[in-house]
C-alpha cells in the first residue's frame, strides 16, 4: 500500500500518468487538494500557498520564515492526506515533503523539451520561442526553490526511486512501470513505516501550529516523542515553553515533548 509521489517539470504529462496509476491501483490521486486543506485549516489564501511552494524565495523572504510556515502547512496537509497510504501525489515537491518514509515510491517523470514546448504552445497558443522561455523560467524557478529550501537540485537522480523518460516510453508503459515498482516488497507498509508516517504527521502538526506563535523552529518526532529545536535561542525557547504549557489538541497524543536550544539540528528535522 505504497504512497507514490510523482514529480515532473511542467507539461511533462505527470498529471496524466499520476491519474492513470491511481486509477489502476485504486489509490486516491492528490494534488491541489493538499493546498485546499492547508488553506482551510490555517486560513491562508490558496494563492499564497501556491506561491510559497512554487516561487523561489526572494532575498527578503530568505530572512523571514513566512515561506517555511506555508510549506509546513502544506506538508501537514499532505501528511494528513496520505497517512492511511494508497495515494498518488503529483503536486509540488512530493519527493521532498515526505522525508524518511520508507513506503514512499518517489517517481520523476521526464519529457523531452520538444514535447513540453509543443504542449505549452498548444495550451497557451503562444510561439515556440515564448513557450520555451516560459518552460525554462519555470524549471529555473523550481530549481532555485529546491536549492534554497532543501539544498538539492530537482534534477539530481538520487532523489528518486524511478525516473522515466517519456520521449520514447509511452505513458501506458510508464504507468506499468510505476505499478510494478509500487508492488515491490520494498514499499510495503510495515509497522515501522506506519510509525514514521504518524511521526511525520505529528511533527508537521506541531511545527505548523507553533510557527505562527514562536517563529522559525525545527521539529523532529520519533515514536510520538517530539523535540523542538529553538533556532532563536533562549528567548524563543521561553516562548515555546509558554505555548506548549497549556493543553492543546495538537499536543494531545504526544508521548513526550522537549525543547532544545543548543546543539546541532538533525538533518531530518522539519
Amino acid at each position: 500500500m505504497a504512497i507514490i509521489t510523482i514529480s515532473r517539470g511542467s507539461f511533462s504529462h505527470g498529471a496524466e500518468v499520476a491519474e492513470r496509476v491511481a486509477e489502476r491501483l485504486g489509490y486516491q490521486c492528490i494534488s491541489r487538494e493538499v493546498l485546499l486543506d492547508a488553506s482551510e485549516r490555517f486560513h491562508i489564501p490558496e494563492m499564497k500557498l501556491v506561491q510559497a511552494i512554487h516561487d523561489s524565495p526572494n532575498i527578503l523572504q530568505r530572512f523571514q520564515f513566512g515561506k517555511q510556515a506555508y510549506i509546513a502547512y502544506i506538508q501537514w496537509a499532505l501528511a494528513q492526506r496520505v497517512r492511511s497510504g494508497r495515494a498518488v501525489y503529483h503536486g509540488f515537491a512530493g519527493h521532498l515533503l515526505l522525508p524518511r518514509i520508507p513506503h514512499v515510491l518517489r517517481v520523476r517523470i521526464l519529457a523531452s523539451m520538444e514535447q513540453r514546448v509543443a504542449a505549452k504552445m498548444a495550451q497557451a497558443r503562444i510561439s515556440e520561442r515564448e513557450a520555451l522561455a516560459v518552460i525554462n523560467k519555470d524549471d529555473e524557478e523550481r530549481r532555485k526553490w529546491s536549492k534554497a529550501l532543501y539544498g538539492v537540485d530537482p534534477r539530481d537522480s538520487s532523489l528518486y526511486d524511478l525516473m522515466i523518460r517519456l520521449d520514447r516510453l509511452t505513458t501506458n508503459e510508464a504507468v506499468e512501470l510505476i505499478c510494478l515498482a509500487a508492488s515491490s516488497p520494498a514499499f510495503e507498509v510495515t509497522e515501522a513505516a506506519r510509525q514514521r508516517m504518524d511521526d511525520l504527521a505529528k511533527a508537521c502538526e506541531v511545527k505548523a501550529w507553533l510557527l505562527d506563535q514562536v517563529g522559525d523552529i525545527a521539529v523532529t518526532c520519533e515514536f510520538g516523542n517530539v523535540l523542538i529545536y529553538a533556532k532563536g535561542g533562549d528567548k524563543q525557547a521561553e516562548r515555546i515553553r509558554k505555548a506548549i504549557s497549556s493543553p492543546r489538541e495538537e499536543l494531545a497524543d504526544l508521548a513526550n515533548i522537549e525543547i532544545r536550544t543548543a546543539g546541532p539540528i538533525p538533518d531530518h528535522a522539519l
Binding site: N225, E258, G263
Partner: protein, 605 residues
C-alpha cells in the same frame, strides 16, 4: 549491717542524678555525658584512673566493636541482602510483620548468645530493610532492640545475670535452676514486649520522616530521586515475546518509551548490567528498567510484558550501596563541554548510563546522546557507585552529593559467612569469651580482605563505644563506694514485713533501677545475696527472689544505658526521651509479667 552513708556515696548519687538529668534535658549529647562521667569520677576520686577508662576495654565494648566490623563485612559482601530477602518476602511490606518476624528471630538468637551480639548482627539487615521498603528506621529498631534484651530472659544462658545466678545461689545451698526453667517467663516477656509495640507502637515510637539510613550521602541520593522523574522497575518477557515481532532492542525501548534498560538476564542465569544499545530482548527474560511509571506501564501494556511489583531478580543490583541514580554537574573546563555524550562514547567509557540532562528548567530525556553539553548541565546517571566514584575523581563532572561509596565485594560472601560462623561457633560451641570470638571473626574478615582495616575503623560508631565505656565507671563507683549496697539495704529495710509477692515486686523495682545505672552483672552480684537473706527472713522463696533479680536486671529500657539501646541509639536517631517514653511502659509491663508469671507458675502468693 547497713553501712553509714558516706560523703563518697552522696557524691556518687549526685553524679548519677547529674547523668540522668543530662540524659533527659540533652543539653549535651548522651555520649558526651558519658565522657563527662569518665573524666569527672576519677577527678572526684570516686574511681581510680584505671577504672575510669576500663570500660573502653570491657568485654561488652570490645564485643560491640568486633560485631560492628563483622556486620560491616557481611553488608559489603551482600550477605545481609541475601539474608533479608527471605524476611522481606515472608513478611511482605508490612512494618508490623517485619517487626514481629525480626524481633522473634533476634529474641531467639539472643536467648543463646549475648543479646548485644544478636542486636548488632541484625542491625545492618534492619537498615537495609528500612531503606528498601521505605519504613522509617525509628519504627523498627527500638522494638527489635528491646526484643533482643527480652530474648535474654528465655534461657538461663541468655544473659550474664542469669548465667551468674546459679553460682550466686551456691553459698546458700539452694537448688540450682535448669536451663529452661525461666523459659515460660521469658517467652511471656518477649511476647508482651512485641505485642506492646504492635498495639501501641504508633504512640510510643517516633514515627520518622522517611526511609532512614546511616550513610548520609545515600540519603541525599534517595531524596533526589523524585527530581529525576523516574524509578526502577523489573519486567518479564513472556515466552512468546519474540514470536511474530520485529526484534526489540534496548535502543528501541529507549527511543520509543524513554525507558532505559539497566539490566537484562540471559538464559540460563546470566545477568548483563548496562546492556549495549543493540542488545536484543529475548523471550522469557527479566529486564531492569528505569523510567517514568506511566511510560513503563505503557511499554508493558504495548509489548505485553509482565510488570513486577518490585525488583526480584535484580534486587541485589538495585540496593543503594551497590548502584544508584546520582546527579552530577558538568564541571568548568570539563572535557565534556561542547561535546555530546555520543561523541564521548560516555556510557561505554565510564560504565554508567545517562538517564536525563537538566538544563535550567528543562529536563531532556529523549536523544540525550546528541545534546551538546554546556557547563552547569545536570546529568542524571545510573550505574555502580564504584564507577561514579571513578568519574567523580576525574575532572569531567562535579557530583552534587559527596559520594561515600563503599566498594562491594560480593565475591567474598562465602568468606564473610565463614568468619561469622566461626565466631559464633567459638562463642556457643567452645564458650570462648564473646569479645575474643567476635574479634577473631572481625580480624579474619580483614585479613581475608572482605573489608580493609580502614573500612573496619570507619564502620565503628564511636558514639556507642563512648556511651558504654563512659557509663561503666559510674557503675564501678556506685558499687565500690558502697552506694548500691546502702540503697539496697535502705530500701529493703524500709519495706518491713510484707507478703512474698509484694516483696518480689519491690525486688524487681529495685533491680530495674539498679540495672539502669550499674551493670546488670554488678547489680546481680550485689542484690542476689541481699534478697536471698531478705526472703528467708520474710518466709518467702529465696530462689524466686534471686530469680527476680536475675530477670529484672535485664529490665533496662528507660535510659540508653543498656548496651543494645546504646548501640541502636545512633542509627535509630533516637533521643533519651524516646527511650523513656517507650521504656517506662515496657519496664512496667516487664515487672507485671515477671511477677504474674512467677505467681502463676511457681505458686508464690
Amino acid at each position: 549491717m547497713a553501712e553509714q552513708l558516706t560523703f563518697d556515696m552522696i557524691l556518687v548519687m549526685i553524679m548519677i542524678a547529674v547523668a540522668v538529668f543530662l540524659f533527659v534535658v540533652e543539653w549535651i549529647r548522651v555520649d558526651v555525658v558519658a565522657i563527662l562521667m569518665m573524666v569527672t569520677l576519677p577527678l572526684l576520686g570516686l574511681v581510680t584512673p584505671t577504672q575510669a577508662f576500663i570500660g573502653l576495654s570491657s568485654n561488652a565494648v570490645v564485643s560491640i566493636i568486633a560485631v560492628i566490623i563483622i556486620g560491616a563485612g557481611l553488608d559489603k559482601t551482600a550477605v545481609i541482602n541475601r539474608l533479608t530477602a527471605p524476611i522481606v518476602s515472608f513478611a511482605g511490606k508490612s512494618a508490623n510483620r517485619i517487626i514481629i518476624f525480626i524481633s522473634l528471630t533476634v529474641a531467639f538468637i539472643s536467648s543463646f548468645m549475648q543479646n548485644i551480639g544478636a542486636a548488632a548482627l541484625v542491625l545492618p539487615a534492619i537498615q537495609r530493610i528500612s531503606k528498601s521498603l521505605k519504613i522509617p528506621i525509628e519504627r523498627l529498631l527500638m522494638p527489635i532492640g528491646f526484643s533482643a534484651i527480652l530474648g535474654g530472659t528465655v534461657t538461663l544462658v541468655g544473659s550474664s545475670p542469669l548465667i551468674l545466678l546459679n553460682d550466686l545461689l551456691i553459698p546458700f545451698k539452694l537448688e540450682p535452676f535448669g536451663l529452661f526453667d525461666v523459659t515460660p517467663i521469658g517467652i511471656a516477656l518477649v511476647a508482651s514486649g512485641i505485642g506492646c509495640f504492635i498495639l501501641l507502637g504508633r504512640f510510643i515510637l517516633p514515627q520518622g520522616e522517611g526511609a532512614g539510613s546511616v550513610t548520609e550521602s545515600l540519603e541525599t541520593t534517595a531524596a533526589e530521586a523524585p527530581r529525576v522523574t523516574g524509578e526502577m522497575f523489573e519486567l518479564h518477557t513472556p515466552e512468546t515475546f519474540t514470536h511474530y515481532r520485529e526484534p526489540v532492542t534496548v535502543d528501541l525501548l529507549r527511543r520509543r518509551y524513554l525507558v532505559n534498560v539497566l539490566g537484562l538476564t540471559e538464559p540460563p542465569d546470566y545477568k548483563v548490567l548496562a546492556p549495549a544499545s543493540a542488545a536484543v530482548i529475548r523471550s522469557d527474560v527479566d529486564l531492569l528498567v528505569y523510567g517514568r511509571h506511566s511510560e513503563v506501564e505503557r511499554l508493558a501494556a504495548e509489548l505485553e510484558l509482565e510488570l513486577k511489583a518490585e525488583p526480584q531478580v535484580f534486587r541485589d543490583d538495585v540496593t543503594e550501596s551497590v548502584s544508584g541514580v546520582v546527579e552530577a554537574v558538568v564541571a568548568p573546563r570539563s572535557p565534556l563541554i561542547g561535546k555530546t555524550l555520543k561523541q564521548q562514547d560516555f556510557s561505554r567509557r565510564f560504565g554508567v548510563t545517562p538517564l536525563a540532562i537538566y538544563r535550567e528548567s528543562d529536563i531532556y530525556r529523549a536523544e540525550i546522546g546528541d545534546v551538546l553539553l554546556k557547563m552547569g548541565d545536570g546529568l542524571v546517571l545510573q550505574g555502580p557507585l564504584e564507577r561514579m566514584q571513578y568519574l567523580s575523581e576525574g575532572r569531567y563532572l562535579l557530583f552534587a552529593t559527596p559520594l561515600d561509596v563503599e566498594r562491594m565485594h560480593p565475591e567474598k560472601a562465602l568468606l564473610a559467612a565463614f568468619w561469622l560462623v566461626l565466631a559464633l561457633t567459638m562463642v556457643m560451641g567452645f564458650h570462648i569469651q564473646l569479645s575474643v570470638s567476635l574479634m577473631t571473626g572481625a580480624l579474619g574478615m580483614i585479613i581475608t580482605r572482605v573489608l580493609t582495616i580502614d573500612e573496619a575503623y570507619q564502620s565503628v560508631d564511636w558514639r556507642t563505644i563512648f556511651l558504654l565505656g563512659g557509663l561503666i565507671p559510674l557503675g564501678i563507683a556506685t558499687e565500690k563506694t558502697g552506694t548500691a549496697a546502702w540503697i539496697a539495704h535502705a530500701v529493703l529495710n524500709a519495706t518491713g514485713v510484707v507478703p512474698p509477692i509484694v516483696l518480689l515486686t519491690i525486688i524487681a523495682l529495685l533491680s530495674t533501677v539498679f540495672t539502669l545505672v550499674i551493670s546488670n552483672v554488678g547489680a546481680t552480684v550485689l542484690l542476689v545475696p541481699l534478697v536471698v537473706n531478705m526472703a528467708l527472713a520474710a518466709h518467702a522463696d529465696p530462689r524466686m527472689a534471686a530469680l527476680v533479680v536475675g530477670l529484672a536486671t535485664s529490665n533496662s529500657f528507660i535510659l540508653p544505658t543498656h548496651q543494645v539501646n546504646a548501640l541502636y541509639m545512633g542509627p535509630g536517631h533516637y533521643r533519651s526521651v524516646d527511650f523513656m517514653k517507650a521504656g517506662i511502659l515496657i519496664s512496667i509491663i516487664f515487672i507485671v509479667v515477671t511477677i504474674g508469671m512467677i505467681w502463676l507458675f511457681y505458686g508464690v502468693s
